[in-house]
Amino acid sequence: MSRWFIALGGTFALAGYMSVMAKPIAFAGGYTVMAEYGAGTMEELQFFYAPRYDFSFGGGYLKLNSDETPETDNITYARVNYLAHRWNLDDAQANIFVWGGLGSATGNRFSGTVLAENAGAQADYETRRVYASFKTDLQRSSEFSHRIDTVQLGLAPYKHDYGGLATWFLVQARQYTGGIHRGTESALLLRLFKGGVWVEAGITNSGKPQAMVMFNF
C-alpha cells in the first residue's frame, strides 16, 4: 500500500503538477456548505456566504480526536475568508486564500469554555486535467494548539465540461501538529462533481475512511 502511495506521489511530483482544493469563497452572492470526515481524527462543518467574489464570512464546527491520546477538542468558530490573489490564465486558474476567525472551544482535558483563534491559508493551481493545493489551518487557544497542513495532488482522466460530471483521482498528505496524529497521514481520494454538488471520498494509509461533501448555490 505504502509503495503504491510513493509511486503515485512520485509520478505527480515528477510531472511537476501543482493543483486545488475546495474553495472557501463561491462567487458574489453565493453560499458554500461543506462537511468533512477525516479518518476519525477530524470532523468539520462549514457554512459561508460571499457578498463579494473575493470575500466570504460564516462559521464552522471542528472536532479533533487524537489517535495518540484520549484528547478530544470541540471548536465552534466564526470566520472571514479573503481571496488574496487570483490568476485567471488561458488554460488554468490559481488562487491564494487567507482566513481568520474567533470562536469557543471545549475539550476533555480542560474544564469550561476557552477562546479559540483560527488562522489559515490556501494556495491552489488547477487546469482541466491537473490540480494541486496546499492548505494550512491553525486552531489555537490557551489549552491547545492544533495545525493541520494538507497537500492534494490530482489528475483528471478526462476533461470535463460545464454541465457534465467531473472525475478526479487525488493523493493527499496531511500532517497534524498538536498531538492529534503522529507522522504524515496519506490518502487516496476520488472526487466527483456536477452542477453545484461536490463529493470526495477515499481511504487513508491506515485504512480509515475520509469523505467530504460540498454544495455551492
Binding site: A28, Q93, T127
Partner: protein, 110 residues
C-alpha cells in the same frame, strides 16, 4: 408619392432590427472548473435582457442569448464575470442563435 417614404422608413427599421445582435459571445480566462463556474450562470441570468446562458470550458466561451431588441453593456458583462470570479478577454455580438451555438459546441467536443 406618400407611399415611398413610408416604405423606406419601414425598410430602415426592418434592416435595423435584423442587424440587432441575438447573442453575446465572450472569451473568458480561468475557465477550468465547472463547479466553480456555477456563478457565471447565476450572475448573467440576473440581467433582464438575458434569455439563456451557455458556458463551454472547452472553448473558454461564455455566451448570452439576448431577448428581442435588448442588449447588455460591456461594462456590465465584465462586472458580472468578475463577480463570478473570472476575467473577460473579448466580447463579441453575433447573429448566431444560441441553439446553433450549442450544436456547434456539441460537435466540437473531442
Amino acid at each position: 408619392m406618400k407611399l415611398l417614404p413610408r416604405v423606406l422608413i419601414s425598410l430602415f427599421f426592418l434592416v435595423g432590427a435584423s442587424a440587432q445582435a441575438v447573442t453575446i459571445e465572450m472569451n473568458v480566462n480561468g475557465l477550468v472548473c465547472a463547479f466553480c463556474a456555477q456563478g457565471i450562470d447565476k450572475q448573467l441570468r440576473k440581467f433582464p435582457a438575458t434569455a439563456d446562458v451557455v458556458v463551454s470550458l472547452e472553448q473558454k466561451l461564455v455566451a448570452v442569448a439576448l431577448k428581442d431588441g435588448q442588449d447588455i453593456p460591456d461594462a456590465e458583462l465584465r462586472r458580472a464575470l468578475t463577480n463570478a470570479g473570472y476575467t473577460v478577454k473579448t466580447i463579441e455580438r453575433t447573429q448566431t442563435p444560441i441553439a446553433e451555438l450549442r450544436e456547434r459546441l456539441k460537435q466540437s467536443k473531442p
